[in-house]
């Protein structure tokens, strides 16, 4: 099985825009052609090979090594193949991806998975702000696929989520699932203030503490069937749902300041 390996040779002095790093694109390129792909280092357009040692060709399995926290848009728009960032990744990693598998073994920065449309995105560490969020002005954020973070996420995870599943192993910052249109956001840990603000439809499954907005209204305590389907799917993809595998949920409908057809399911052990 062949693989393309990019190893950061020279640290960029300012942010490096590298949306050309896409496994589906690499599948048809030679080593030299990959090294010639343009990246923007500040105002200069330079070759990818200036910053990375490129090893391998004609493969849609890509591994990126070295400290690439300043490298932005890795895997942005990817439609297939596999991209593994061996450490922590820069901003906008996997933004707009519509297929394939993207794994960040370290932490992910702001806007990772922004406007994601499909595929699978996994972060082993923590993710910063607007994980799987929405582009400015767009009426929809993530529209498909599965994304999960083993650690915690920053503010506004899953903003304007339209379809797809986002799961967080740790806690989430303020305004988790803001203005969700549909889809499902699972957070095992605590949620920051304002969770579900403007929720139109869709579900927020909350494993930890959260302070509900006044425009959510209590419905009942139960364990809806789809939760087990969802958890089974998450477990299959390698996400541990922990104690939520058993127990019940308190259902709160809202946000009644908006359309109000969404739900927050708050886990309870009993």
């Amino acid at each position: 099985m062949s693989e393309v390996r990019l190893t950061l040779r020279q640290a960029p002095s300012v942010a490096l825009e590298a949306p050309c790093v896409r496994p589906d694109a690499f599948a048809t390129l030679s080593e030299a052609a990959i090294a010639r792909l343009p990246v923007e280092h500040g105002r200069e357009v330079v070759a990818l090979g200036e910053f990375f040692d490129v090893r391998g060709e004609h493969a849609d399995q890509v591994r990126v090594e070295g400290d690439v926290r300043r490298v932005k848009r890795l895997g942005a728009g990817m439609i297939g193949g596999s991209l593994i960032v061996a450490g922590s990744a820069g901003r906008h990693t996997g933004a707009g991806m519509s297929g394939g598998s993207l794994v960040v073994e370290g932490d992910a920065d702001d806007w990772t998975g922004l406007g994601m449309r499909g595929g699978r995105l996994v972060v082993h560490g923590n993710a910063a702000a607007a994980f799987c969020g929405a582009a400015p002005g767009s009426s929809r954020g993530m529209t498909g696929g599965l994304a999960f973070v083993r650690g915690s996420v920053g503010v506004r995870v899953g903003e304007r989520l339209r379809r797809g599943v986002i799961a967080v192993g740790g806690s989430a910052g303020a305004y988790a699932g803001a203005h969700m249109v549909a889809g499902t956001l699972v957070v095992r840990g605590a949620l920051g203030p304002g969770a579900g603000i403007g929720l139109k439809r869709g579900s927020i499954v909350a494993g930890g503490a959260l302070e509900l907005l006044p425009t959510f209204r209590y419905a009942c305590r139960y364990r809806p069937g789809y939760v087990d389907l969802l958890f089974a799917s998450l477990e299959r993809h390698g996400f541990d749902v922990g104690a939520m595998a058993a127990g019940a949920f308190d259902r709160f409908g809202g946000d009644h300041a908006d359309l109000g057809r969404g739900e927050i399911l708050k886990w309870t052990a009993s």
Partner: protein, 353 residues
């Protein structure tokens, strides 16, 4: 008369401009920042410089006005020029004052002040409603739910003054003309990502049944000019990067605050701004470490190049009023110094040569 300086030493303008151009050209990622206290003419010229440089262009609004930008882009707005406020029967001052004489006390105008923590509205308001800071967003949502005719459960409302909010919502949906006044450039402690959104959505909701407008108070001499000029020239109101494929918008991403904190710019051109008033200490400290060209009427300490210009107050040109009306700015006194626009035009020429 103040002189332009290079490394603190007085210099002729042309020589200083040449040094500035060299410094900016040598940078890998220059930032053009400010445009708050600048005329439209200077703002245009700054965009031209940024475009030529392939710089990132940003204004203090990227931090202070971020929530309002976001709300506008998601929802739009219900606006009015200031003269319209004379029709108002209800004014709600949302944790702010107003400088519009049209909303001063008068018969037929009910004035409500919603005070949030220490952010208080006019002292002479007819009605007051006090909220804790963490109640602000919940209160806005509850108001909107009431305006939609929904109920709010006591269990979730906690200590919110539910009855007062219900009553205010009723007034908003039944008034002939209402204005909600808010602080559109709040201080750092009050920059909530969702406040402007919640206010905009509330006004939109009330507007279904009555006529209600949102008025955002701005700070600085020409913040609306900066937004307008950047928008018509680049498509975006702030935080624009001139990349290989044209202007790209990056709210947050291309905001001076985070660019500096992350060390993602290596030269800065300051125009029409006192950056320390708008940046965190951390970002300001980084700014001090980056080669800097500053335009202004007051010499900036530590700038590699200082280009002396007339002060905003002494510069003829055009500016936008807070409600978006373009006006001619005719200074009472004139200046011996060239305007920012003139100096920026020279800088653009020097960059081209």
């Amino acid at each position: 008369m103040r002189r332009s300086t290079v490394d603190g030493q007085p210099s002729e303008l042309d020589a200083a401009v040449a040094v500035a151009a060299g410094l900016l050209r040598a940078a890998r990622q220059p930032l053009v920042y400010g445009l708050l206290d600048s005329t439209v003419e200077a703002q245009r010229a700054a965009v031209a410089v940024a475009r030529r440089l392939g710089a990132i262009l940003d204004t203090p609004a990227s931090a202070s006005h971020a929530g309002s930008f976001r709300a506008f882009e998601r929802l739009g707005a219900a606006l009015a020029s200031r003269g319209e406020y004379r029709h108002a029967e209800l004014a709600v001052f949302w944790a702010c004052g107003s400088d519009a004489s049209e909303l001063a006390p008068r018969p037929g105008l009910a004035r409500v002040s919603v005070d949030v923590g220490s952010a208080r509205g006019p002292a002479d308001a007819d009605t007051r409603l006090a909220l804790e800071p963490d109640q602000e967003i919940p209160a806005l949502l509850a108001l909107r739910a009431f305006a939609r005719g929904r109920r709010v459960d006591a269990a979730q409302a906690g200590s919110l003054p539910v009855e007062a909010l219900r009553s205010l919502a009723r007034r908003l949906v039944s008034c002939g003309y209402g204005v909600v006044v808010c602080d559109a450039d709040p201080a750092p402690a009050r920059r909530d990502a969702c406040r402007a959104d919640a206010l905009t959505a509330l006004v939109r909701e009330c507007h279904r049944k009555s006529r209600v407008r949102l008025s955002g108070l701005r700070r600085g001499s020409n913040p609306v000019g900066a937004e307008n000029v950047l928008t018509w020239l680049t498509g975006f109101p702030a935080s624009v990067r001139f990349g290989a494929d044209g202007p790209r918008y990056g709210p947050g991403e291309f905001a001076a605050e985070t660019l500096l904190q992350r060390g993602d710019v290596d030269a800065v051109l300051l125009v029409g701004v006192e950056p320390e008033a708008h940046l965190s200490n951390e970002a300001a400290a980084q700014l001090a470490r980056v080669p800097c060209v500053a335009l202004g009427a007051v010499e900036r300490e530590g700038a590699r190049v200082f280009l002396a210009t007339s002060a905003f107050g002494a510069t003829a040109g055009r500016v936008f009023r807070g409600d978006g009306v373009a006006l001619r700015h005719a200074p009472p006194q004139s200046s011996d110094h060239p305007s920012e626009a003139t100096v920026l035009a020279r800088l653009a020429e020097a960059l081209a040569s």
